[in-house]
């Protein structure tokens, strides 16, 4: 079989760009996403920052899957609005990716199942060839089409061949043997193919030295933060998109004398986390919506019995089994309100991978200082998309264990009561094995000793004691971040991974002379009312941007600080993150012809 790279004959001038956006699409499970990670590594080595996003189905093989990589001289926090290049292994991938292509974008198409059918705009450059067939005949492994395509892509992006070879080599070094050889051979085939028919360098990116940033996904950053923050016991049950926390900790916790247990279900997971905490270990569990539901009872137990435990909720499209691999931010109500009875809890919402690391350490400290459950609420995009982040600063990490007594401290006490009333509501803790520290820890209402009690006075005091802790904890909860022009009368309020698209939407709006500002909320419960009141007071219209239908953040804000008539919701709930342009567009639509006008209530 002869391979032809059908090339159109326009002369190409490499475009100088500070940013490059590439999609690779094909069938789930056939390794197309590897191309994304190889490219990410290349770009890092020439000093760029990267962001990647994956779009897969809840099945292991087959069905459309794609990944987008964005490389930039600046840190980026979303995949943006458009694509410069598209590697497509089938027609469906072209359907999905081409609407986003820049007018002069590049398409690399695997024509093994026939030439490209889709009609593309005239300036789009299409390179097509039977990549899979080529890999099959020459390398006996059709999956190596990926590496072949990567070689071609690297040419179109103007990347140096040595760099590309180094990255592929590094990547398969450990596997060695056939795997390494096959991939290196595939690269050469790709380069030859590109040479043969003269694939042009369409882009030229600024090349610098490798930057020192880390490429990490949110789930992993939480895992790292957990270990560094002194966490030693983790229990979890597999679930998309939280499994990466389990995976990461299963490999890494044992090195530190810790353990990551795969529980039989999420009920077991949270109760194991509770058990380890009772014994004195910093512990955590992570799951997504369905698992969160099952942890509800354990949550109340941790609160009532005053047990420090960190719960990570990685939100996906609900309700119920929903769309397991898809993005959403619709568990706010659940994490803030779920569970019978009144009890304290803290809900922290990291907005980027850096936050995921530092706020996990904070969560561990808060849990132990205030002896209560602390949620880390993230979303699928933040959990699974990798970001370039500055190296985590280990010197900033503090482990604060609050009123956990040492044996010496305990020895000096005349009386030890696990739930002793105190001015800050926090009682001293002992752990089993300490002499003189006997305690009864219970989810029943109890007196200071931890003995079951229905005494009405005691009850009232215990309820207030627990609630007081949350009020005091609030003073240590992460503050929001402010962006934009202080004088703007149009504001955004949002949380989580929306920070990326919103910041870029603000840039777009600025170019249209719509100055905006933005309050990124990072504590969802308790809310910092002061920052919200100040912000909402200062704007005419506040767009509350969230990936859910009902406006859960907007609801929390109305409940806690009011301002219903200034709040306008921008909501998305189709399983995907916002795009910057879409947010800008919705704002412009809402403001109508004359910008800055007051908007109607959502």
């Amino acid at each position: 079989m002869t391979t032809t790279l059908e090339r159109e004959t326009r002369p190409i001038q490499p475009k100088r760009v500070n940013e490059i956006r590439v999609m690779v699409g094909g069938q789930g499970g056939d390794g197309t996403l590897t191309v994304i990670s190889l490219l990410a590594r290349c770009l890092k080595l020439i000093g760029l920052h990267t962001y990647d996003a994956r779009n897969v189905l809840s099945r292991i093989r087959g069905g459309h899957a794609d990944g987008v990589l964005r490389g930039s001289v600046n840190r980026v926090l979303c995949s943006g609005d458009a694509l410069d290049a598209l590697v497509a292994f089938d027609e469906e991938a072209v359907e999905v990716g081409s609407p986003l292509l820049e007018a002069d974008g590049v398409v690399i198409f695997d024509s093994s199942r026939g030439p490209l059918k889709k009609q593309l705009p005239p300036r789009v450059q299409v390179y097509q060839s039977k990549l899979s067939d080529l890999a099959g005949t020459q390398l006996k492994k059709t999956l190596l089409k990926n590496t072949i395509s990567f070689a071609i892509l690297s040419r179109a992006l103007g990347l140096k061949q040595e760099l590309v070879e180094r990255v592929v080599k590094e990547r398969y070094q450990r596997k060695g043997g056939e795997v390494l050889e096959g991939n290196m051979a595939a690269l050469q085939i790709g380069f030859r193919l590109a040479d043969e028919i003269g694939v042009a360098a369409h882009y030229s990116m600024p090349e610098g030295a490798e930057n020192d940033s880390l490429q990490v996904v949110g789930d992993e950053a939480i895992g790292i933060g957990f270990i560094v923050g002194g966490g030693r016991f983790y229990a979890g049950y597999p679930i998309t998109p939280a499994s990466e926390v389990l995976d990461y900790l299963s490999v890494n916790l044992p090195k530190f004398g810790g353990a990551a247990v795969q529980a039989e279900d999420e009920i077991s997971a949270i109760n194991m986390a509770i058990g380890a905490a009772v014994a004195g270990v910093r512990s955590m569990t992570a799951t997504s919506g369905p698992g969160q539901d099952l942890m509800t009872e354990g949550l109340g137990q941790a609160a009532e019995a005053e047990i420090p435990v960190v719960i990570v909720d990685v939100q996906r499209s609900g309700p119920s089994t929903g769309m397991p691999t898809k993005h959403e931010q619709s568990d706010l109500n659940h994490v803030v309100f779920a569970g019978h009875g009144d009890f304290p809890r803290l809900v922290i919402a990291p907005a980027d991978v850096t936050d995921c690391f530092y706020l996990t350490v904070d969560a561990l400290n808060l849990a132990e200082k205030y002896q209560m459950p602390v949620f880390i609420l993230i979303d699928q995009a933040l959990a699974q998309n990798s970001q370039s982040v500055p190296p985590f600063d280990l010197s900033k990490v503090r482990v604060e264990r609050g009123k956990l007594l040492s044996q010496t401290e305990l020895d000096s006490l005349p009386v030890y009561k696990r739930y002793e009333f105190s001015s800050d509501g926090v009682s001293r803790r002992t752990i089993p094995g300490m002499s003189g520290g006997f305690s009864q820890i219970t989810g029943n209402e109890h007196n200071e000793w931890g003995m079951v009690s229905v005494n009405t006075e005691n009850r009232e005091k215990m309820m207030r004691k627990r609630m007081l802790k949350a009020e005091l904890a609030k003073t240590e909860m992460p503050r929001g971040r402010f962006y934009g022009s202080p004088d703007a009368k149009i504001g955004f309020v949002s949380f989580g991974s929306n920070v990326g698209p919103i910041l870029e939407a603000m840039d777009i709006l600025a170019t249209k002379n719509v100055p905006t500002k933005f309050l990124l909320v990072r504590s969802l419960h308790p809310l910092h009312e002061d920052e919200l009141v100040q912000f909402l007071d200062s704007v005419d219209t506040a767009f509350v941007v969230e990936c859910n239908l009902s406006g859960q953040l907007a609801g929390l804000i109305r409940r806690e600080v009011g301002f219903a008539n200034k709040i306008f919701g921008i909501n998305r709930f189709d399983g995907h993150s916002f795009r910057p342009s879409e947010i800008a567009q919705r704002v412009l639509e809402e403001l109508g012809p004359k910008t800055g006008g007051n908007s109607r209530n959502a």
């Binding site: 016991f233 380890a276 014994a279 820890i441 003995m451």
Partner: protein, 286 residues
């Protein structure tokens, strides 16, 4: 030494079988000289699940049915502790059945005492999975926890006692605690402990119990033979008691924990302590 919580008076009805379990447990702990400060009792929810209030050791009152999974983690966190989970049959075999199964599968070194009365005492006498046919309209064949325990190839200690036979019960509890303390795995002990208020089976049980360990033909090291012997005993209308099976297998904590490492609960987790290894974690992403 600080003064700590005043041991409670049991909440049980006069004559409740659980008094016998409490007495035997106290005796066993004392005779084995297990240091109270290194002992934790994880109670279930139910009348039985109040037992941890009645002994001066560490106590944790779990959620209904969740005592085993909690206790498993306590053990992993600090294998030096003597961990005793103690609850009811509703707690352990109804809502908690899955954790029972998985505790048997994982074989953590903890003692599990079930005060089995065939009913939900604390919620006023509904039939539990072990309720006898006829009790409150029960028509299903009662669940046999000891047979199920035998059916997991990883089980290492399966026993049944009777609150009405203190000598045997103390012996069994001691053997269970020794199994646990020696890190041999999950020591499961079902104790017939009649609910005199809702399901007073004292008389029947006293008649029906048979100590298999007294039978020279009974081999409690052979899983299938023990299974057969127990089954035949049950079918013949008697209730098998004694140490019904004893086997060997790696405990969960042995499988999971880095050999020789300091118990997690006692580790120094200040960041300085591990700075170099933490840096290594970061390098993976650079």
């Amino acid at each position: 030494m600080p003064e700590t919580f005043p041991v409670a008076t049991p909440i049980w009805c006069p004559g409740c079988g659980d008094f016998g379990v409490l007495a035997a447990l106290k005796k066993a702990l004392a005779e084995l000289r297990i240091p109270p400060k290194d002992t934790i009792i994880v109670g279930g929810i139910g009348c039985s699940g109040h037992i941890h209030n009645d002994i001066q050791v560490y106590g944790y009152h779990s959620l209904h049915g969740r005592l085993l999974t909690t206790a498993t983690a306590v053990k992993l966190a600090n294998p030096r502790l003597t961990v005793i989970a103690a609850g009811g049959d509703g707690d352990g075999y109804a809502i908690g059945g899955n954790h029972f199964l998985h505790a048997l599968r994982r074989n953590p070194s903890i003692v599990y005492l079930v005060m089995n009365n065939g009913t939900y005492g604390l919620t006023k006498g509904q039939p539990s999975p072990t309720a006898q046919i006829g009790f409150e309209g029960t028509k299903e064949i009662p669940f046999e926890p000891v047979l199920m325990a035998l059916s997991l190839r990883s089980s290492t200690f399966v026993a049944r006692g009777f609150s009405g036979n203190q000598t045997q019960l103390v012996r069994l509890i001691k053997e269970a605690i020794e199994h646990e303390s020696q890190g041999k795995g999950f020591a499961f002990l079902d104790v017939l402990s009649p609910c005199v208020t809702y399901n007073d089976t004292y008389a029947e049980w006293r008649k029906a119990v048979v100590d298999l360990n007294a039978d020279p033909d009974f081999d409690n090291t052979n899983r299938s033979k023990s299974f057969q012997h127990i089954l035949e005993t049950i079918v013949s209308g008697r209730i098998p008691t004694g140490l019904l099976y004893r086997g060997e297998g790696a405990s969960f904590e042995r499988n999971v924990l880095l050999p020789g490492s300091e118990p997690m609960a006692l580790q120094d987790i200040s960041p300085e302590k591990n700075l170099e290894s933490y840096k290594k974690l970061l390098r993976k992403f650079a």
